[in-house]
Each structure stands twice: as C-alpha cells, then as structure tokens.
C-alpha cells in the first residue's frame, strides 16, 4: 500500500499525499495498529523485566519508524488539506503546541518516580539504569504518549514550514528542502542500532555527525527562504512576531533548559522509545528554531517598509486592472479618458494627459486629447507639451524630468503642483501614436520601478489605441463601401432604364464604370413625335468627383434638350451652365445629336468628344470629326464660335456608333490600344446586324482583343441603326440591362 502511495506522489518532488478519505482512514488505522504493537512491545519488555533479543529489537525499531512515517503522511496530508495563510498557520501551530505542552505537563506529573535514593538502579524517568527496561506500566504509557506528542509536533512544524520555505519556489529551493529532509532522515538512520541505555543521550557517533553537518548547513540555507514575509500587512507582521516569539520560547526554552523541546525529560523518553526517531525530532526542532529566528528577525526588519510595499502593490494592482480595462475599450473617446485616468487613480501621480498626433489633419503636431487631474487650459499654461512630444520622438525610452520646474519646457513654477514629470511614448507597430505624460507634485517622484510599471502600461495603452484606430478605420471603410454602393445604385438610375422605341430605328447602349461610380453618361430624350435627342458624355477624371459632374450633366440634358433646337444651341447652353460649377481642371466631352425620323436626318455636334463613327450599307465608313471644344475648357464665346454641326441625311442601313474614349483607348496585356481602326473594322464586319446585336458584337470584339474583363476607364457604347421609315416597328424596344452589358457579348455567337 505505501508503495502505491509513493507511486501516486507526483514526480517525487511533492511529498506523499493521501488523496482520498479512504486512503487516509486506511493509513490512520494502520498507524494506530502499529502504534499499539509498539506499546505492546514495551509492555512485554516491562512484564519480562529484561530486554528481548537484539533481532526483535531491530524489528521493533523498524516497525516504529514505519509507523511514524505513516504519521508523517497523515500530518502532511492534513496540513496540505488545510493550507492557510502564514499568520493563521502560525497561530494554529502555536495553539497546538501549547495544548500539547499542557497535556505533556499533566502526563509528566503522573507516576513520577521520586525515590532515587532507595533504588539507585532506577533513573529519574523510571527505566532501569543499566538496561533501559521500563519499571512500571505508567512509564511505558508516558514514554509512548510523550513520544507521539513530540514527534507529531515536530512533523506538524515541518509540514507547516514546508509551505513557507517553498513559497515562490524555484527548482533550487525545492531541491534544498528535500535534500535537507533526506539528510535529516539519513542522520537519524545512522543511529538505528543505538539505545538510550547503552549510548546515553545526545552523544552521537562520528558517522552521525558527518551526515549532520551538511544537514545543518541546508537547514541554514532553508531558514533564509522568507520571501512570504514581504507580502504581509503591518498587522499580520505584528501578530506573527508575537506568535514566533511564543513558538521560539516553547522550542528553545526546552532546548536551553535541558533535553526536549518544551518539557524536561520528554526527549529522554523519546530516546528510550526510539533513538533514530528522537534524533530526527531533535533535528526538526533545531530547524524550527532556526527558521523561527530568521523569520522573527526578518519580520522585525520588514516592519517599517510594509507601508511602502503595500502602496506599491496597490498601485501595481490598480494599473493591472486598468490595463485590462483599457484593452476592452474600443470607443476612442472613452479609451483616451481611461488611459489618462489610470495612472492618477492608481495613485501613481496627480496629473496625467495624453497627446496624439492628429491623423486627420496629417500634421505631426500633437494635440492633447485627454487630461486627468488638470484641465486642458491650465495644462497649456503649465507645460509645452509639443516640445516634450518632439523630444520623445527622438528618443527610444521614456522622458523623465525629476525637477520639472527647472526644465525650459515646463512653465510651472515650484509649488504649482508639477514637481516631476514622466513622458512615455506610445508606440505601436513601430509608429509613435502619441505620448502619455504623468506628473507628480513632488520633485524626484518617479523611481525606477514606477517607470517600469508605467512603461508597461504605456505599451498596453498604445496597443489599445492602435486597436481602436484600426477598428474605426475598418468601420469607416465599411461605411464608405456602403456609401459607394448607394452612389453606384443612384448613378445607375441616372442612366436610361430602356432605350426608346422609334419606328425605323434600332438603338442599343451600355455603360460600365472602372470604379464604383464613373464619369460616363449616355441618354435619350423624346423631343416630340419625330425627334429624339441623344447624348454621350465623358467627364474628365474618374470616380466620385466625375460622378457628381455626370449627374449634373444629366440634369442639364433633361432640362435644356427640350429648349434647344439644335445640338449647337444645346452645347452652348450647357457650356455656359457648367462654367460656374466645373473645377478648372475638369471638363466634359460631349457628343450630342438630334435624330429627325420625318426629315430622315441626324444632326450631330461634337464638344471635344471622340468622333462618332458612321458606316453605310455599302461598307463605307468614317469618323465624324467636326470641330468643337470640350465643355468647361473655355468660358468665353470662343466655344460657340468654334463649334461646328454636321447634318447627315439618313439612308437605310446607316449605323452610327457613339462611344467614350474608354473604348478606343482600352489596352490589352501587351499595352496595345484597341484604337479607332479596330472599331471601324468590327463595325464593318457587323454592319448588317440590328443595333442590339451589333452592340453586343462590338463589345465582344473589344473583349476578345483585351483578353480580360477589367476596365482601366469608364466605357460607354451607343449604337444607332437607321432601317428606314417603312421598317415600321420591326425592331421594337429592346429592354437593356445596363448593369453588366459587358458580360453579354461573350455569349453572342459570331456572325460571319
């Protein structure tokens, strides 16, 4: 069974522990039984009046030692189960010690042998002087009981001190402790064959002393494991000083007065009971006295510094808890105020403020975003935060001003509440986000350990700030994406949802943007029964600003087209209308046409736009490159003076292609532009098809050339085919999908 228990003890480093109640009771029963066997042996010796054989004595000694090993197990697991803070542990130990002392005194008084004169062969304790045979059953009982009490108390002390010695344990300290115990056991075992009667008491042989010396050395080493003392409060230390004194009095008193820890003669009984056990017990008491003495001295020395230590621990704990808080706050406002409040509320300082580089303005000039313990206006009068901030940017660690008023960047005079100051750079991902400043009323207010704690806090704060910033950036990004999606949807609405259906004409048009929104625009407006106005426009640049001008162009088209009788008139008005709102570097190229089905003519004007392509049934094709400035380029009358219209009489089969530069300037992977010639060629190949098919075919040709679906530029394509008036409604309105027209052509089969 013990083998099993030993196996259960983890790594051999922890002491044997009885894990369950069942084990405990089993060991307890076993111990009691063996204890009674020991008692019985002594009674047997008493009754025969002579010593037994040496062999039987060895067996007895072995049984007793094993029995007390079990007692150690019992006591150690009891102590382990009732772990207590040092004060309580000491209190319990002293109390038990006092109880045992009282009980011991009572026991010692019973059956005391007083008549030495009458019988010189009897020593004071009641054993025969020569042989050590107990003379009365009372002696046997006293011997057994007093031994149990002493050894039990020694075990209790060891078990209790074990926790203290191994407080904040290291490998080394653990090794020292177990080595000490081992050496104590070995020392005891060297006296295995000795008896009190033969050897006398305390007269140890040389082998015992040889092992004892290192044991004592280790006792001294272990006696200096006292780090638990620093964590005690003032009251706890006072209480412990008292308890230690009592304990020392009990232990050392007995040692000084004679043998035994607190009772005259008690150890003598123990030596009679079992010599090795007595040796072990004495060692345990010696160690206890040593440890008690060092503990007492340490307690006394640490008493005055308790307050400082407690304050420091409090500050550390406060900073720690606030650090945790900081890492949970995502709201920037709340975060910065938590960061500045932390050092002040932790009691490390009277003032704190936080300066951050203003990312919005892009300047590196810091701005004080939060203060605690001082209002911003007063702070500005006290310290030149910007100068301190710059200084921080040039160094790697914190800036410490022990005598702040002496520094040229601090305007505060002595006595204005700013004696010493620490500036901590807040660095995250190698970038200085800002700086945390902490000030105390007193000069030289920051010690090295303060700086350590504050630096750690600053690192945490920087991380939290960085996280909050990333979080906000992410939110902003998502918001922008949503906004752009809305903008895209709105812009789609600005384009015509259907092409108009007009007898004799087929129409198709589409537009795609390189970005979410673009600057391309196309549209149609029925002017009256016979006339249709059509427009393709391209705002210079791309993206959001272009999209706004595109919207403005849409408004102008829908309002002015009805009033203008000719393309020239429309464009002149539009140029004037746009002059006020267009940026200097923005212009809009427009191609505008009026189709008159009754007169069978198309009038086109080009304001800086890519020339429309026209192809006749016979394949004769050309670009209509009339003169005309882009809208917004000129704000004088030059625009109107130079603009030229082209009037085209329509013949059945005529096809007009209007587009933006995104079409002809698109480049393939080799960097070649699609160009005007390829457009005209494709047009020539597909000129016999209706406008929708032709439109698809042209886009398909373009995509085949490009070899990819990505657009560098906004791309708009409008196709108008004149079938002649007699065609009537042969080609009715084709609903079109401006959303993704670019995808469709790929599915259109090629026509020869």
């Amino acid at each position: 069974m013990p083998a099993k228990l030993i196996a259960r003890s983890s790594e051999g480093a922890r002491f044997l522990l009885l894990q369950t109640r069942g084990h405990f009771l089993f060991v307890l029963a076993l111990w009691a039984m063996l204890y009674l066997i020991g008692l019985g042996y002594h009674l047997f010796v008493w009754s025969t009046g002579a010593l037994t054989s040496p062999l039987l004595e060895v067996v007895y000694n072995a049984i007793v030692l094993f029995d007390y090993a079990l007692l150690w197990l019992l006591i150690a697991s009891l102590v382990e189960r009732h772990r207590a803070a040092p004060t309580k542990a000491f209190w319990h130990t002293v109390l038990i010690g006092l109880l045992l002392l009282g009980a011991g005194l009572l026991i010692a008084r019973v059956g005391r042998v007083t008549n030495i004169v009458d019988n010189p062969t009897i020593d004071l304790l009641g054993f025969e002087y020569e042989t050590g045979v107990p003379l009365t059953p009372v002696t046997v009982l006293k011997m057994n009981l007093l031994s149990l009490m002493q050894v039990g108390f020694a075990f209790l002390l060891l078990a209790r001190f074990r926790h203290l010695v191994l407080f904040k344990r290291t490998r080394r300290s653990q090794r020292n402790w177990y080595a000490m115990l081992a050496l104590m056991i070995v020392t005891s075992l060297t006296t295995f064959t000795m008896t009190a009667a033969e050897e006398g008491i305390g007269e140890w042989r040389i082998p015992t002393v040889i092992v004892l010396v290192p044991a004592v050395l280790l006792m001294v080493v272990n006696a200096f494991r006292l780090s638990w003392i620093v964590f005690l409060s003032f009251r706890q230390k006072l209480a412990l000083i008292g308890l230690t004194l009592v304990l020392l009095a009990m232990l050392a008193g007995g040692q000084v007065l004679g043998h035994g820890f607190f009772l005259m003669d008690a150890t003598d009984y123990l030596y009679h009971y079992s010599y090795p056990l007595a040796v072990f017990t004495e060692q345990a008491f010696v160690f206890s006295i040593l440890y008690g003495t060092t503990a007492l001295l340490s307690l006394l020395f640490h008493l005055p510094t308790t307050g400082d230590f407690q304050q420091k621990v409090g500050e550390m704990a406060a900073i720690q808890s606030l650090t945790n808080l900081v890492s949970k706050v995502f709201d920037s406002e709340q975060l910065v105020s938590t960061i500045v409040a932390s050092p002040v509320e932790a009691g490390s300082a009277q003032m704190a403020w936080l300066a951050l580089t203003d990312l919005q303005s892009g300047s590196l000039r810091p701005r004080v975003v939060a203060t605690h313990g001082v209002d911003p206006a007063r702070l500005a009068a006290l310290v030149d935060t910007c100068a301190l901030y710059e200084d921080l940017g040039t160094r790697s660690g914190p800036l410490v001003l022990d005598e702040a008023p002496a520094d040229h960047r601090v305007e505060a005079r002595p006595g204005e509440g700013l004696g010493s100051l620490v500036g901590l750079p807040l660095v995250a991902r190698d970038e200085m986000l800002g700086a945390l400043f902490i000030a105390k009323e007193v000069t030289h207010g920051f010690e090295q350990d303060d700086l350590g704690a504050l630096t750690a806090f600053a690192a945490q704060a920087a991380l939290a700030l960085d996280n909050a910033r990333l979080f906000e950036e992410q939110l902003e990004k998502e918001r922008l994406t949503r906004e752009l999606d809305i903008a895209r949807a709105v812009q789609r609405k600005l384009l015509p949802q259907r092409v108009p259906s007009i007898d004799g004409v087929t129409l198709a048009a589409s537009s795609v943007s390189a970005q979410e929104v673009g600057g391309d625009y196309y549209d149609f407006v029925r002017l009256d029964e016979d006339r249709l106005a059509l427009i393709v426009a391209d705002v210079s640049g791309k993206g959001t600003s272009a999209a706004f001008y595109m919207a403005e162009m849409q408004g102008i088209f829908h309002s002015i087209s009805h009033l203008a009788r000719t393309p020239r008139e429309f464009l002149t008005h539009a140029n004037r209308a746009l002059a006020a709102s267009l940026e200097r570097n923005v212009f809009i190229s427009v191609i505008y046409g009026i189709l008159d089905v009754r007169r069978e003519e198309l009038v086109l004007a080009r304001a800086g736009h890519c020339p429309a392509a026209v192809i006749h049934l016979d394949g004769e094709a050309r670009y209509l490159r009339t003169q005309g400035l882009g809208l917004g380029l000129d704000r004088s009358d030059l625009f109107a003076r130079t603009l030229v219209e082209e009037r085209l009489t329509l013949q059945p089969g005529d096809v007009f292609v209007l587009y933006t530069d995104g079409v002809v300037e698109s480049r393939n992977a080799r960097g070649e532009e699609y160009g005007y010639n390829r457009l005209l060629e494709a047009l020539r190949r597909h000129r016999h098809e209706d406008a929708p098919d032709l439109h698809r075919a042209l886009l398909a040709d373009l995509h085949r050339f490009l070899g990819h679906d990505a657009y560098d530029d906004d791309m708009t394509l409008m196709v108008l085919k004149w079938h002649g008036i007699r065609l009537a409604s042969a080609a009715s309105a084709h609903p079109q999908q401006p959303e993704k027209p670019a995808d469709e052509p790929a599915m259109v089969p090629e026509k020869p």
């Binding site: 391209d538 705002v539 210079s540 640049g541 791309k542 940026e583 200097r584 570097n585 923005v586 212009f587 190229s589 800086g608 736009h609 890519c610 020339p611 490159r625 003169q627 005309g628 400035l629 882009g630 917004g632 380029l633 000129d634 030059l638 130079t642 530069d661 300037e665 532009e673 530029d713």
Partner: protein, 125 residues
Amino acid sequence: MSNFSVGFRSVGPVQVLDLRGELDAHTASELEAAIQKALEEQNTRIVVCGENLQYISSAGLGVFMAYIEEVRERGGDIKIAGLQSKVYNVFDLLGFPMLFDIVETEEQAIEKFREDANGVPPTTA
C-alpha cells in the same frame, strides 16, 4: 511604380518641362507639382515638351487647364511641343489647339515666346 517623370530644363528665359511616360489620373499630380514649382520660381514661360510622352488621359489634360489662366494672367504661357501623333490626337479631339499653342518642335515653341515678347499676341488671347 510610376512610369511618368518630368524633367526640368531652362532655355534662356523659357522653362522646358520634358514629359516622359504616361500622364494619367495617378501621375497628373507630378506634372502639377512641376508647373507649380516653375511658377514659384517665377518661370511663367513654360514649354511642355512631349516627345517622350506615350499617353495622356483626360485627367492629364486637366492639369494644363488648371494652370493656364494663372500663367497667362502673370504674362506667361504654356506652350506644348513635340507631341507624338497619337497623343496629339487626344489634345486635338478636345479642341486644345484652339486654346494652346501646340507646335511640332521645342524650338518653334521658344521662337513663339520670342514673337510674343515682340508684341505679337498669343493666338488665343
């Protein structure tokens, strides 16, 4: 990344800007900065030499529009020289030749400045 650059040269009182590469929405700011610098140095007679300009987008053209008014108010001009035909076509489509002196060679542009100084007004003034 940027395949556009502007080189500075002075020919007498004329500041010549040599454009190289592709002038589009991304690189337009470089030309802006170059013209701005010339103006800060009081060089209002600017010839933009486009012999090595491969491509220009509408945003690139916008740069000329952004500065021409200020330059002319200060008594100078921006003249454009040596454009490749494909690039010239872009200028031409928008009607830039009606607004700017666009000539074939840098020497012609500088000569034009000399004529302007002799009292012949700029074509579009």
